[in-house]
């Protein structure tokens, strides 16, 4: 932006010079062209800058519009046609019953954390170990095969993951060891999510291990360590900041995933009461198969059916705002892990 006054000062000078030079010696066409090119060169900078600034504006724009609608739930803003809610009754209550004026979103927050946590529990160790395998142990044909497998896994659309869970895994689990009770809930959602986020973790973990100096490897082998000892005691600790980044980005992907989870989780905002009921009568494992809901699934499920401006609608937008803020926090967190310090 601060280049514009400078270039606008130079540009007219160039234009004025041109006819004078023309009169003295008829300039060859290439010469004039190159003047034009120099002008274009000066101004093109601004075009590219505008594109970048547009991205920055988008970040701000999303924040602005989501805040305008999300905060309308708590403030008497223009977008609010119902009553204003207090922060406590939204963020500190487990009671979600919009038709009787209760808007506690804790069940969804809890659901999101539970599903994401479980998914990360499955995906982080396997993803990091696969990363180390690709970077340090695998023969080259296996390496390229694994890369292709991960590329395909990350490319499969979330609805296809969802339909796979819905039509294949759910009936299978339900018939095989749940005595035909519905299997939808945390366990299956987390399983599917973990497959969806593993490629992210694997590719970042592979980069992390490949980025380590070879001397670490050689040093530990010279001290007589086995391959695994070198990995466990030297390479993984050395790559830890970047592995943490990989996990956080995987977490971000998992928490924002909507469609696949919506198709298999059962969409039950009252899951806390149901789970208490289940675990009173059945073993704890049954709790994993409680139909539940998360921030994203509830948005998909209810947003199309709510009137604009109602507290219900506004609270849903507030949930979206929460997801967005969470993303920002996660991205800033990866910065703090000092990715640049290793890279």
């Amino acid at each position: 932006m601060n280049d514009s006054p400078e270039s606008s000062l130079v540009a007219p000078a160039l234009l004025l010079e041109l006819p004078a030079a023309d009169r003295l010696t008829p300039a060859p066409p290439e010469f004039r062209q190159s003047r034009l090119h120099r002008l274009a060169d000066r101004w093109s900078h601004l075009v590219f800058l505008t594109c970048s600034l547009l991205v920055v504006a988008l970040i701000g724009g999303i924040l602005f519009f989501l805040s305008a609608r999300g905060l309308a739930a708590f403030l008497p803003l223009a977008g609010n046609t119902g009553r204003t809610l207090s922060f406590a009754e939204v963020f500190l209550s487990t009671d979600w019953a919009p038709s009787s004026d209760h808007f506690g979103i804790l069940p969804f927050l809890g659901g999101s954390l539970a599903v994401t946590g479980l998914a990360l529990l499955l995906a982080a160790p396997t993803g990091i170990l696969t990363g180390v395998f690709i970077a340090k142990l695998a023969p080259s044909w296996m390496r390229s095969l694994m890369r292709q497998v991960m590329d395909l896994l990350v490319g499969i659309p979330s609805v296809v993951y969802g339909i796979f869970g819905l039509t294949i895994i759910l009936p299978l689990v339900s018939h095989s060891f749940l005595k035909d009770a519905p299997a939808s809930g945390f366990a299956i959602s987390a399983m599917i999510l973990s497959v969806m986020i593993v490629p992210t973790i694997v590719s970042l973990a592979t980069d992390a291990f490949e980025g380590l100096p070879l001397s670490l490897d050689e040093g530990s082998q010279a001290l007589g360590s086995s391959r695994w000892q070198a990995i466990w005691h030297v390479l993984i600790p050395a790559a830890r900041p970047r592995l943490l980044t990989a996990c956080v980005l995987g977490l971000g992907r998992a928490i924002g995933e909507a469609m696949a989870v919506q198709m298999v989780i059962g969409n039950n905002p009252q899951w806390i009461a149901l789970m208490r009921d289940f675990t009173d009568r059945a073993p704890f494992l049954r709790a994993l198969f409680t139909p539940a809901a998360t921030l994203t699934t509830e948005l998909v499920q209810e947003l199309p059916n709510t009137p604009t401006g109602s507290p219900w609608n506004n609270v849903l937008f507030a949930m979206g705002l929460l997801l967005y803020l969470l993303t920002m926090v996660l991205i800033l967190a990866t910065r703090r892990f000092g990715r640049s310090e290793v890279a």
Binding site: L58, L66, L249, T327
Partner: protein
């Protein structure tokens, strides 16, 4: 001290080493198995449905036997439109970050923004698109709302790919260009971008695949209906894509053959993605051959 303790019993270490190598192989092969079962099951389920008239018939709303012709058209149309919107911006931003931004705070800040946009959940982008295009601009559920919101998903990917590809251009090439008297813009347009083009193209194909599979954004911006006319190029009509159709028929439940339609649609999507991935591999090989 710790190193000595762990290295004390070499025979045990050897056993652990063997065991853990085995574990790593099992995990890796496990992922290959997961993918194989996944793709196999989807194709197996969808195969009986995949006949030509499934692909070339209009969908039904209440009866069995509907096809997915308009959804295929809408998917392609929306992906192309969204790429059309996002390509200039993504390219521009990528060029700026690779060639103009330098190495300091500016670059860091733009990178942070790109990363944030890339990590933003698609459901959040969907809400944004719904507020801005569907409601504020009053475009309702339409192809244009969908394409513009989908573009937000593509922009960070294209930017990143452009930046990385431009970073890979050898310095000698650019210096030679400057040495011949070319301006920076000429060097970028005529030397750096053509050199990086295959890399950018690979990224574009991957972006197209991602946009093709996206559903959350389009449910809230392009809607779950299709125009009755085929092919309908108007930007103001709702445009349900394959992925949205797949989700909608399973969650709506008014169609008697929803399960078959979903299975067939899923198989079509998997096939398209396999083809896209294969073409990316060919592109990739072309790049390697040239740079070797």
């Amino acid at each position: 001290m710790r190193a000595i303790a762990t290295l004390r019993s070499p025979s045990r270490a050897k056993h652990v080493d063997k065991l853990m190598r085995g574990v790593l192989w099992v995990i890796a092969l496990g992922f290959i198995l997961v993918l194989a079962v996944f793709v196999g099951a989807i194709l197996h389920q969808g195969w009986p449905v995949l006949r030509l008239d499934f692909l070339t018939r209009m969908p039904e709303t209440l009866e069995a036997g509907g096809g997915i012709k308009p959804q295929i058209f809408n998917s392609i149309y929306l992906v192309l439109l969204s790429l059309g919107f996002s390509l200039p911006i993504g390219l521009g931003a990528g060029v700026y970050m690779a060639e103009y931004a330098g190495k300091g705070r500016t670059l860091n800040f733009f990178r942070l923004c790109i990363e944030t946009l890339a990590a933003t959940p698609s459901i959040v982008l969907a809400l944004f698109g719904m507020i801005v295009f569907v409601q504020t601009l009053g475009w309702s559920f339409s192809i244009r709302s969908g394409a513009l919101t989908l573009a937000l998903l593509n922009i960070p990917v294209i930017t990143r790919v452009t930046e990385v590809s431009l970073m890979g251009v050898p310095r000698e090439l650019k210096e030679a260009s400057y040495g011949l008297g070319a301006t920076k813009l000429q060097t970028i347009l005529k030397v750096a971008l053509p050199y990086a083009a295959t890399g950018i193209l690979t990224g574009l194909v991957l972006t197209a695949g991602r946009a093709f599979g996206e559903s959350a954004i389009l449910v809230f911006t392009a809607g779950t209906n299709t125009s009755a006319i085929f092919p309908d190029f108007r930007l103001t009509v709702p445009g349900e894509t394959l992925s949205v159709h797949l989700w909608y028929v399973t969650s709506d439940g008014t169609l008697p053959d929803a399960r078959e339609i979903a299975a067939g649609t899923a198989a079509v999507m998997i096939l398209v993605l396999l083809i896209l991935n294969l073409s990316v591999r060919f592109l990739d090989r072309a790049i390697r051959r040239r740079t070797r």
